[in-house]
Subunit: 224 residues, 2 copies
């Protein structure tokens, strides 16, 4: 499957209950779920165990966008692993030595997937990150993580990432749906998974939204 649901609980809801509601409605039809730092700050990592237990085998990825020295990132990653979180997202920007090298060792030890942000899609990304994107891809290639994050709104960066990183590193593409990219467009550019948030989580019927998006993915992929 090619779809990951980004869980972004509204402030007025109990974040764990709300997330489990979405998970139970959609888990049969998706590869996994992405949770973010704002939710983790609200709940703490222990509460996430209820959420990972509810996925019935689909994986949960923590989008912390870690960007610290290796020792500190490793403490956070290990805490998540013990709550059943399957993957953790960090920034390639912090470099390999004493940073991502240590985090990768921790992920391997904890049986966790490491995912590195190589590019982002907001306007501020053009100020520093996009101009050094080849360096960031080089860091990702050196670290050899399970996957990288490249935005669906920048299909040429996805193509470039696929060319440079080869076939064995997964490409996860956020920005599909409410943020503008059409379902399937990132898959056409070479991504393995598209990450969709509000178009699913805020739909009146999330399962139906998932099925419509998967159908659109398949139609678009046929015409790549």
């Amino acid at each position: 499957m090619t779809l990951i649901v980004a869980l972004d609980p509204p402030l007025e809801e109990d974040p764990i209950k709300w997330s489990i509601g979405i998970i139970e409605k959609t888990r049969e039809y998706v590869s996994g779920f992405k949770i973010g730092l704002p939710m983790l700050l609200r709940t703490g990592v222990d509460a996430v165990k209820q959420l990972t237990a509810a996925t019935g085998g689909s994986s949960v990825i923590a989008d912390l966008k870690l960007a610290d020295i290796g020792f500190v990132m490793s403490l956070s990653a290990a805490a998540l692993a013990r709550a059943g979180v399957r993957g953790v997202i960090a920034h390639s920007f912090v470099g390999v030595r004493d940073a991502l090298d240590a985090l990768k060792r921790t992920c391997e030890r904890e049986g966790m997937d490491l995912i590195l942000v190589v590019a982002m899609s907001h306007r501020g990304a053009e100020e520093v990150m996009t101009p050094v994107v080849d360096k960031l891809l080089g860091i990702a290639k050196e670290v050899a993580p399970w996957g990288v994050v490249l935005p669906a709104t920048k299909p040429r960066l996805i193509q470039r990432g696929r060319r440079i990183l080869g076939e064995h590193i997964k490409i996860l593409a956020p920005g599909v749906g409410a943020q503008g990219a059409r379902p399937g467009s990132a898959l056409c550019a070479g991504a393995d998974y598209e990450i969709v948030g509000r178009a699913i989580t805020r739909a009146p019927d999330p399962a139906d939204a998932v099925l419509r998006i998967r159908k659109e993915q398949m139609e678009v992929v046929k015409t790549c």
Copy 2:
């Protein structure tokens, strides 16, 4: 005062109780306390209220090294502000537009200090961050945060930061003590605060360690 204590509770301790113990022993002699993401993941943000309440007026800074789009960073910052946290650390590399501009507005609304990482001291920082340090300083200048983070182990970057950012932005320098920089050396280079962790928190008598470090700061500053 020129000293901030980095609280990094050992895994085998209750992080809030342990932190309050250090706070109560040292709060009279320091400017504030820094807490990190690993602790916040363990406790959740609500538990931090007990910790901020124990400081008796010294400030608590959350070293999340936020590095996301503005909307997501703002959700995290707002949650921290409501727990009495006074300042939040974000990365300048995510850029101004739709990122730090939005976070700055949130911090202003919440009465919170924004602090931007401009440079780091681990070896991986040389791969991408240090080569673009002038761009990162430019972003900090444009955002005009309350403060920036520049490592005590790189006094020339502190001098450069002071020259480019002017006198009104605070410079916070971690890396003093266990990580190698001598107390007072970053102050001599132009920093406003030195951040010390283990040399205080793991000392048999943390208050005594603070007083010794302050004395050393004063002696070193006299000879700048």
